[in-house]
Amino acid sequence: MRQLRALIFRIRGLFHSRRSEAEFAAEVESHIALHTEDGVRSGLSKEEARRQALIRLGGAEQARQAHRERRTLPWLESLLRDLSYGLRTLAKHRGATAIAILSIGLGIGANATIFSMVSRFILRPPPVGDPSTLLSLKTTHDGDVCCNDFPLPVYKDVHDQTKSFSGIAAYDELIAASIGGSGDPERVWGQAVTANFFEVLQLPMVVGRGFASNEEDAAEIVLGAGLWQRRFNSDPTIAGKTVMLSGRLFTIIGVAPASFHSVDQILNTEFWVPLGNAPQLAPNLGDANSREMHWLAVVARLKPGVTRPQAAAELKTLAVRLAQTYSDTDKGSGFVVVQAGLLSPKDSGTMNLFLAALGIVVLLVLSIAGANVANLLFAQAAGRQRDMAVRLALGATRGRLQRQMLMESLLLGVGGGALGILLSLWSTRALSALHLPAPIPLNLTISVDWRVLLYSFVLSVICGLLFGVAPAWAASRPQLANALKGEDALARPGLRISLRNLLVIAQIAMSVVLLCITGLFLRSLESASGIDIGFRSQNLLIMSVDPRLHSYTPERTAAFLNQLRQRAAALPGVASAAITDFAPLSMGGRSDGFSVVGGPDTADAPTADLYMASPGLLETMGIPRIAGTDFSNETATEPKVAIVNQTFVERILHGKNPIGVVVSGGGVTYRIIGVAGNIKSRTLGEETRPVLYRSMVQNVGSDPSFLGYTVVVHTAGNPAAVEEAVRRQIHELDPSMAIFNEQTMEEHVHTAYFLPRLAASLFGTFGFIGLVLASVGLYGVMSYSVSRRTREIGIRMALGAQPGSVERLVLRQGLVLTLIAISLGWPAAWMLAKLASSFLYGIQPHDALTFSLVPPFLAVIALAACYIPARRAASVNPLQALRTE
């Protein structure tokens, strides 16, 4: 305790040093005076008495020094002195400091942005109790790596027959419902969960409680915090009140914490109901009790003391047992165990690759930035060599000087880091504003969390030290004799290629890599924008409803949609209107494996995407009808008819005349009545997929859409102008109908460019930053070299060299550096390009245009960066240059 008190006093002592110094000087003075008086009294002369007093004190200055060392903390004091000296030096070279901090700031900002994605998608545990013991179980088939959901009976078997877990819960990951509360009814997404769900997650409610074990079928609902806030005004007494959910009355029993959206942290679900409600809320579920219907996600809590391999081993023996008991259905099935809340093995591969590619790129940017800083520090060291030499000559140690230089670069690093964090705050917000065109609710927001802060801080400290160490080492070793004479003291005799040249070569080489990758992604965006999507994006308005969520029967749904189509088509300014289930380019959708009825039995049926269509859909969307007829007035009881696209004809019918052919998929048969043009069905980059349009009226009852129904309106003018009119038509038909996904087709297609645009803008930004930083670096090195060679250039000119030849001399030097760098960077880029290949649209990773354009482009930029120093060299006045030394 006493030591701590003393330490605090000593730290305080650092800040009142001047006053304490004066006070102690007074005390010493009074001591000497008292002692002198004593001496005089005992008969000495005044001078002699004072001399004796000083001797006994051991010297006034020495006493002051001893006192000072006790008063403060000497090591901390010298550190603070380095700090303030560093700050002063940096403030003096304001321009250089700004460039250095800006460079590192851009580099750290880029890294922090990418790391915030890593933190969000790879590192962040789910917001549940003790995430490390929560596992996610999946089923596999025939030794596949990954993986599928659970059938309900299999979940029950695992639940009843394993001992490794203290709890196992299952849930249907996504069900839609329309919910009451304040305002118009809203369509929201939630999950149907087993009653032990929140217990297994160890997730305490904010308000109320979770489900009790006897409430598997209860009409009860737990709200997400967002929904509670949005529709129920954060009512703290909400537990026990009721709400309409898709036409049924549910009792609200609790509110989940705001941090919780779903175990996987990607789906943004907002309510939870007991699993017994699933068949009613999701009528297209099929046979929920079948051993072949994979529809449940499963999470399990490890018992204390049981390890994950032990649990996996137990599941393995269970799988063998189940395969024997249910040999029809469970043969070849297995289980995999993964950490809950992380991306499934299926998705994590792509994500890791994407983040690894970005990670390499941002580290390149940071290295280029750091090389700039090292170069600046070298230049400063050169400017201070005399100062350093004098201090060395006066007895300062090299270590002391190095420490001081390192403090400066550390300050630059930390300053840059702070700027970088500010930049990443902005960039993560901008990235979070982008959204995927998926019709299901995803939460992909990224933010700067503590992991990002820590990473950025460590990175900026490393950066400061790493790029400061070489300049500090060089600066503390001037050739004394040269320095004191005022000559260049850092140049080592016999060293042809300086460290600074190496740095600039590395910088340019790295920007070659960066530019090649950037070029690839820009080309990819260009090629993506040239992709023919196969339907019109102009003058189309889309708007979705889901009558099923309002307890409509299939007949009523079909009637509603028909009326809506006719009313919308009759609006002024509307050319035509049609109904489908959801718009293409929504990243996924319904698909089934198809084969020709009566045709040869093929082992794996090619899958085709399914879209529902009312009469006129193809015409409204501008998809050409190539053969056959359109839907007209089919009825639900007639045999089902379908229109297929050309790829369907090629891939599944092997090119034979499709009209009248009967195909079967997903246990349903369709007679083909027409052929339509191809469209991009799921994503822009896809290879064209087989598509089958089925009659809306014939399928609303037997296989309703999970995602609701979309009215597509083709307008003569701006589609946004009729939006309000269409809304009004819907509400005239049913005032309580929830409307969602209202946008123009142009907006929808625009979001489909999400991936190529995201990649191009990220890589484009980073490539541009890298290029600018590298050219600043080259410029800096060349100007420095010219300023160092002023005298040499002066002599050359005095001996008759022309300004033009001097200019060429400098340019040639810069060009040689650039060429060396390009010859190093180009092969590296060639090798790295393969990494990017899976993210490119319609171009090869070794795109000839990119790889042939980057080197000359970079050479031109390099020449431009060298031009100003070259001009300066050429304008050297020989007389002045020779006189300065």
Partner: protein
């Protein structure tokens, strides 16, 4: 004296505390002289080392200081014991007595044992 500061600091602190206890508030010079006198002039203090020792005691909260006037009308800084200082004096004195008693057993001729 310089190379045995640790031991010396400890004993010097004790001497300072004891002297302040018996004499009341005292300035640095007076304190030094008093310690020398008490030691029967066997100790010759380097006065320069006294002040860091005083500062340490003050930082630890055993003594406090204030400016005052000496008996012959000079401004001087006076030191006095705090409550914690009194307690520390008792504790340190007891420890010291024990140490010397133990050492004394080693150093006296063996006949008593």
């Amino acid at each position: 004296m310089g190379d045995k500061t640790d031991v010396w600091q400890g004993t010097l602190s004790l001497m300072v505390l004891r002297t302040l206890d018996s004499m009341g508030p005292q300035h640095g010079y007076g304190l030094a002289r008093r310690i020398e006198q008490t030691s029967g002039d066997l100790l010759q203090l380097n006065y320069g080392t006294l002040y860091p020792a005083l500062l340490k005691l003050e930082q630890e909260g055993f003594i406090r200081s204030s400016w005052g006037t000496s008996e012959n009308n000079r401004k001087a800084k006076f030191y006095e014991l705090t409550k914690a200082g009194h307690r520390q004096l008792k504790r340190a004195a007891a420890e010291w007595e024990q140490t010397t008693a133990i050492l004394a057993r080693f150093l006296t001729p063996a006949e008593e044992a």
